[in-house]
């Protein structure tokens, strides 16, 4: 087992036809801890897959260095890195049966025949694919192929597992099942795992550590809870959570201490946040609040609320999503099924100010 370290790594793709260059990974500095499940999360084109491929050795960076454990592997061939990878399309060898798919890597590493057999059987048992060993990938279902792809990685006992959106080709039900299995498997094996996904639910449930990326740059590194409760910038605030965090234009003013003014309503700011907001007095900020932190003021009996106009109510069974707007900002509130809305579609929204965040409108970074 080994951790992975990126030092000032930059990867640029040159497109021969258009003669354009795209910076896929921009001066990346990252430490992936040993034995943990790290998820690289971001929208498509954010550089997460390139980062994974850099670890695998399928891409060579233009600048910087990559270390696996203490070994510098920046320019070494994938076979010298002792890693195993699960591809999005599984990339099973279509002309080989499952047994040979699993054994291929071990044969390349010149393992003795008996050990290959032992390891393949062991992994097949672990993943419950023993009865499939003689079949070719074409004769397997999507879920079975996924297991074989996983088995092909496990059988090698590598230092690092790399997984490139391995669940994205499964249907929703199977995905949820395999997600849990994957987590149990990683806990059992304790091998460093780097997992790429654009699905924040997958990232939150799987990742010990989540690395959010955008435009080839790391936006935030942290545990799921940190990212959710204390997003480092507007990008992370928007990307994590479904529905995402509401972002509302507001002004900080001084009136019996600091207050935040939304529309014409003044809301208190928790004391611990005041210090950082001193320099923003009489300036515009972006206020962030999660949908579940907006509540019905009448039901709670609160007297500080914002009167808003409801656009749509989505009924989801256990909860309702109330879509409303304040000036031009569209806002969603996640409420229990009970909600009281007037005939004129006016709704009194209570903001739980202990949970609010503030962002700088220009740098988009979190300020308090």
């Amino acid at each position: 087992m080994a951790g992975i370290r990126f030092e000032n790594v930059t990867k640029i793709f040159h497109q021969e036809e258009t003669r354009k260059s795209v910076v896929a990974v921009n001066n990346l500095n990252l430490e992936i801890p040993d034995g943990r499940f790290t998820v690289l999360l971001g929208p498509s084109g954010c550089g997460k897959t390139t980062t994974l491929r850099l670890i695998a050795g399928l891409e060579i960076p233009e600048r910087g260095d990559i270390y696996i454990g203490d070994r510098r592997v920046t320019r070494t061939h994938p076979k010298e890195r002792n890693i195993a990878m699960v591809f999005q399309d599984y990339a099973l060898y279509p002309h080989m049966n499952v047994y040979n798919n699993l054994a291929f890597g071990l044969r390349n590493l010149r393992f003795p025949k008996r050990e290959i057999e032992e390891r393949v059987r062991e992994v097949a048992k672990m993943l419950q694919i023993e009865e499939l060993l003689e079949r070719t990938p074409r004769e397997l279902s999507g879920g079975q192929r996924q297991r074989v792809a996983l088995g092909r990685a496990i059988v090698r006992h590598p230092e690092v597992y790399l997984m490139d959106e391995p669940l994205s080709n499964l249907d929703a039900k199977l995905r949820a099942e395999v997600r849990i299995e994957l987590l149990e498997l990683q806990r059992k094996l304790g091998t460093t795992t780097v997992y790429v996904t654009h699905d924040q639910v997958e990232a939150m449930t799987l990742g010990d550590i989540i690395v959010v990326m955008n435009n080839g740059i790391i936006q935030q590194i942290g545990k799921a809870r940190d990212l959710y409760e204390r997003p480092a910038n507007i990008f992370v605030a928007r990307f994590i959570g479904s529905p995402p965090m509401n972002l509302i234009k507001a002004t900080i003013i001084r009136q019996d201490g600091l207050k935040v003014k939304i529309d014409d309503t003044l809301l208190d700011i928790p004391k611990e946040k005041c210090e950082n907001l001193e320099s923003y007095i009489d300036k515009e900020v972006i206020l962030g609040i999660r949908p579940e932190d907006i509540k019905d003021a009448i039901i709670l009996g609160k007297d500080k609320y914002i009167i808003s106009t409801v656009d749509v109510i989505e009924y989801l069974g256990a909860e309702v999503l109330v879509h409303f707007h304040i000036n031009s900002d569209k806002i969603v509130a996640r409420l229990d099924s009970e909600v009281e809305i007037g005939k004129d579609r006016k709704w009194r929204a209570y903001f739980d100010t202990k949970k609010i965040q503030f962002f700088d409108p220009i740098t988009e970074n979190s300020i308090a």
Binding site: E17, A56, K79, Y93, P94, H95, L109, R152
Partner: protein
């Protein structure tokens, strides 16, 4: 005047049936016409072959002219075959090396085909899946050479064989066919359609580049390999002009060149040191041609599937 039609009185079922019969009849007419055209075409194509086989069993001296056409020999004989192979020729006559001709044809059908499969697939793989500078430029340079008609390069190539001192050797016969642009192009197109992730998976699975090529890429390219193999073999076996151009000694003749050399002094290549044929000895030549056609016919029947595939590959990807 009011004219009322009683809808109930219309026999809808009858109308439907008639319509159905009409369409079916039309479709039948179309099918029959297609069959007539194709059958005629097949007969016209097969007739020369059939005529060749029939005439190879005719007696020496029988007229081969179109007026005396016979669709089956009235009195078949195998003497043309015996004479062609000179089975009963006296030992002091230096014989035609017919066996050698067949061997040479086999060589020119097999060796360049095998080498083409190896080199074209390697080049195709490199162009399809590897990353290296100037890749596009190299590919286009290769493709551009496809625009040059073969006949144009024949003379320079012939001169080259002289300069290499390869004229009238097996090198001249075989070497120019060892790699082909068309093959590279077809392999590139075919290998491009393999998912890159499979190759990358093998790379991560600690496979060396040659191993990836031989254990992953080639086995997955079986269809194109078969097609190229079959076409290469048939093309090589039937090749005539190049072997005729670069060989002088009859020991280097392929069966096709050998056969035309039988046409006598007035016909194809003069065969020195062996018997030459007058116009009357067409029978022997047809016997030889019938024998020469057998391998191609066998290959065609065995590998029909791949030949048809080859035609469609050209149609889809060419």
């Amino acid at each position: 005047m009011d004219k009322k039609i009683n809808i109930r009185s219309i026999d809808w079922e009858k109308i439907q049936t008639e319509k159905f019969i009409r369409t079916k009849r039309l479709r039948n007419i179309f099918t029959i016409t297609a069959y007539i055209i194709l059958t005629t075409w097949a007969i016209v194509s097969l007739l020369p072959m059939y005529w060749m086989f029939v005439c190879s069993f005719k007696h020496i001296g029988v007229s081969f002219s179109i007026e005396d056409i016979e669709f089956y020999p009235s009195n078949p004989t195998n003497e043309n075959y015996i004479n062609f192979l000179q089975l009963d020729a006296p030992p002091w006559i230096s014989k035609r090396p017919v066996g050698r001709w067949f061997l040479n044809s086999l060589l020119i059908a097999l060796l360049p085909t095998i080498s083409n499969l190896i080199f074209d697939s390697m080049a195709g793989y490199a162009l399809a899946k590897m990353r290296f500078p100037m890749k596009q430029a190299i590919f286009w340079a290769i493709v551009m050479t496809m625009m040059i008609p073969e006949i144009v390069i024949l003379i320079p190539l012939y001169r080259m064989m002289f300069d290499f001192k390869w004229y009238n050797t097996y090198w001249a016969l075989l070497f120019p066919g060892f790699a082909g642009v068309g093959g590279i192009f077809l392999f590139k197109q075919s290998i491009e359609s393999l998912p890159t992730s499979i190759i990358e998976a093998a790379r991560v699975d600690a496979a060396s580049e040659p191993k990836i090529f031989f254990k992953i890429v080639l086995p997955l390219s079986k269809p194109i390999l078969s097609v190229m193999g079959v076409f290469g073999f048939i093309g090589g076996w039937n090749s005539y002009f190049w072997p005729y151009l670069v060989t002088e000694s009859n020991k280097l003749y392929t069966i096709q060149v050998g056969l035309t050399s039988l046409m006598g002094a007035g016909g194809g290549a003069g065969v020195t040191g062996t018997l030459t044929f007058g116009i009357d000895e067409y029978g022997q030549m047809l016997a030889g041609a019938s024998m020469a056609a057998i391998p191609v016919i066998i290959i065609f029947f065995l590998l029909q599937k791949y030949i048809i595939q080859g035609i469609t590959i050209g149609a889809l990807k060419g």
